[in-house]
């Protein structure tokens, strides 16, 4: 095949050539190490130098030594932030994947791979956070054989396993192109639409299943956040998070990796404005759903309390306001406003998940018994985010994520 012949001709010679060209970006080891000496990398190195030993210490000494978790507060930052927030912010993978592959919005193809990569890394980091949070993580190997079909956690575990596998398979497409394995890449490309269907299915199931977990503890969650429909709220807010996160991630990527995008026929601003329209409409609906949850739960009276103020900040400041900003920005072509609204949307979802799983959880306990995260928990969480960001940067700098691989024209 002619294209295969061209790939061979264009491929770097030998394993050493491959490593130099593909891994070291054409530099010698010495030059590569020197190029890594940047202020950003220095900060990341400090975070990892402390965080990775802390993670190892957690597995050596246990949860009691490294966290402030207790029998009354078994879920902490690693569940509230790493798991709940990490998973919801990874929703861009299925949101954009479905838009492009299933709904035929091909113009968003340019941001599909970054969204899938963000989702994949988000899930991997969430899984690491989850394993760190398990009291006996070694039992995880046996969950597929314990048929706890009535357990919400059983569903969450299966969905995370399945969806992470699907994301991994979706990610193999740019990996195979990077490695120059044309047949494998062509095969995965054919599978992509099936994988997208699976990703929508698993995401729908388990974004909502994470909300279903709170159906098990209706009295522990504050009435302003608890509703019997919380699983629907989780799913819709996942779409909000997916759109907002893709807006933010695209904006940062286009600033940081602008060299890769030069000369590409992609109008990033147009895509961001399009996402702004979608974000405006979904957030508008989500705002009214949140109000409906308050009415349905007869919880109006709590709005005058401290928790009510927090709820109003979340709902007015981080749902209604970004919805209106998205709408105004998208209509009037104000890209920066849409990007700001996306940032508010991301922060709003982080706030919501932390409120649900940490702040408004166990709200009736006296303050002395309330959970406050240990500094080690915070550091490990920051470490996991740092690893995710570094991995994203490493992959984008090498693999055809933002740009097309010249050996696979039309594949991106």
């Amino acid at each position: 095949m002619a294209s295969a012949r061209m790939q061979v001709a264009a491929a770097p010679q030998g394993f050493g050539g491959f490593v130099k060209e593909k891994v070291l970006l054409g530099m010698s080891v010495k030059d590569y190490v020197r190029s890594c000496c940047t202020p950003v990398n220095a900060v990341a190195a400090v975070i990892l130098a402390v965080g990775l030993p802390l993670l190892a210490y957690r597995f050596y000494a246990g949860l009691g030594a490294t966290t402030n978790l207790s029998q009354t507060a078994p879920w902490g930052l690693w569940i509230g932030f790493d798991m709940m927030t990490g998973i919801v912010l990874a929703a861009g993978g299925f949101t954009i994947g479905a838009s492009v592959q299933i709904f035929g919005l091909k113009e968003y193809h340019a941001i599909e791979r970054p969204a899938i990569l963000t989702a994949f890394l988000g899930y991997v980091m969430a899984v690491i956070g989850l394993i760190a949070d398990l009291g006996r993580p070694w039992n995880m190997a046996f969950f597929p054989f314990n048929y706890g079909t009535a357990s919400a956690l059983f569903e969450v575990a299966w969905c995370v396993l399945c969806y992470t596998s699907v994301l991994f398979l979706e990610f193999t497409l740019p990996f195979f192109e990077w490695a120059g394995w044309a047949r494998a890449a062509a095969f995965m490309k054919k599978l992509l639409i099936a994988l997208t269907v699976l990703s929508v299915m698993f995401s729908t199931m388990h974004q909502s299943a994470l909300g279903s977990l709170f159906l098990l503890a209706p009295t522990k969650l504050h009435p302003l956040w608890y509703t019997p429909f919380i699983f629907i709220f989780f799913f819709i807010s996942a779409i909000v998070a997916g759109i907002s996160m893709v807006v933010v991630e695209s904006s940062i990527s286009h600033r940081v990796f602008h060299r890769q995008l030069e000369g590409q026929p992609v109008d990033a601003d147009k895509l961001i404005l399009g996402l702004g329209k979608a974000g405006a409409v979904v957030m508008f609906a989500y705002f009214f759903l949140k109000l409906q949850g308050v009415v349905d739960g007869h919880a109006w009276g709590y709005l005058a309390t401290g928790y009510g103020a927090l709820f109003l900040v979340e709902v007015l400041g981080f749902i209604l306001l970004p919805s209106l900003l998205f709408a105004y920005g998208a209509r009037n072509g104000k890209v920066k406003l849409v990007q700001f609204a996306g940032l508010l949307g991301v922060l709003g979802i982080v706030l919501n998940r932390l409120n649900v799983s940490v702040v408004a959880f166990n709200w009736q306990l006296p303050s002395a018994q309330r959970y406050v995260p240990h500094w080690m928990e915070i550091w490990v969480s920051v470490t996991l985010v740092t690893i995710g960001v570094l991995a994203f940067r490493w992959i984008v700098n090498r693999m055809p994520i933002l740009r097309e691989d010249p050996r696979f024209p039309g594949a991106h």
């Binding site: 095949m1 002619a2 294209s3 061209m6 264009a10 113009e107 009435p223 030069e262 000369g263 590409q264 026929p265 992609v266 109008d267 990033a268 601003d269 147009k270 404005l273 329209k277 405006a280 409409v281 508008f284 609906a285 009214f288 109000l291 409906q292 009415v295 349905d296 007869h298 919880a299 109006w300 009276g301 709590y302 998205f326 709408a327 998208a330 209509r331 009037n332 072509g333 890209v335 010249p406 050996r407 024209p409 039309g410």
Partner: protein, 248 residues
């Protein structure tokens, strides 16, 4: 305290009012979000042509689409005014009698060269984006997509029997005529004028890139492509290359 705030009837009434209020507010909100004004400031140089193509499609039937970046392959492939191109490299042209002529564009013609044609039978219903004809040789056939919906009312037998007729792909090389069923909707999906020319230039660049991938857009000087580029570039796998471009 809060749980006594409303009776069950009051709460239900509030829920219904909220739902109705949402629906009433959603309509103007939706119209506001969708009613974007034309935006020029964000169109950047690298994307100018693509953005212009989108804008022109929206503003059917095709106004001038702004500046386009000069292309090294400009002029390789022709498309006359009044011809609407489908992304699968077929075209449609409105005739005076209300019928629509359909053919393959200059790019497809030069890509495949003189080829045997399999045309649809009279009365066949064709649909936009669905295979309607085939080009190829004795061994391999490549399907091509219909640019619009309708039923076939005439077939150009001369083109079928004498493939050299499609040397004039937009003239006597028309392939069949269709009585359209969704003309307005179909035409919105097609390219005309500057977007159509830009589309063919992009296709030309893809071919040029294939000729010399390391050199990217640095091309040979002068000349135009030979007929049968696909065979020259891909040999026996010419049909794979053609399928890729024809979206088959």
């Amino acid at each position: 305290m809060a749980h006594d705030f409303l009776s069950i009837y009051g709460a239900k009434a509030a829920e219904y009012l909220l739902a109705i209020g949402y629906l009433l507010l959603f309509i103007p909100f939706w119209r506001y979000v969708q009613g974007a004004r034309p935006k020029e400031a964000v169109v950047r140089a690298g994307a100018a042509a693509h953005a212009a193509a989108g804008a022109a499609r929206t503003a059917f039937p095709g106004r001038a689409a702004g500046a386009t970046a000069p292309s090294p392959t400009a002029g390789w492939f022709q498309v006359p005014a009044g011809v609407y191109l489908h992304p699968g490299h077929t075209w449609a042209r409105l005739e005076a009698d209300g019928l629509v002529s359909v053919g393959i564009d200059d790019f497809a013609h030069k890509l495949v060269g003189a080829a045997a044609l399999e045309l649809p039978e009279l009365g066949t219903r064709v649909a936009q984006g669905e295979p309607a004809l085939e080009v190829g040789d004795d061994e391999r056939k490549v399907p091509m997509l219909s640019p619009l919906d309708g039923s076939v009312v005439a077939v150009n037998a001369a083109a079928r029997e004498h493939p050299e007729a499609i040397d004039e792909p937009y003239g006597r090389g028309w392939l069949f005529k269709v009585k359209p069923s969704r003309l307005a909707a179909n035409l919105r999906q097609l390219l005309e004028g500057a977007p159509a020319r830009r589309f063919l230039e992009d296709a030309g660049e893809a071919i040029a890139f294939r000729m010399s991938p390391q050199l990217a857009t640095v091309l040979q000087d002068g000349g135009t492509p030979i007929h049968g580029i696909a065979r020259a570039l891909a040999g026996d796998d010419w049909d794979q290359l053609a399928r890729q471009h024809f979206l088959a």
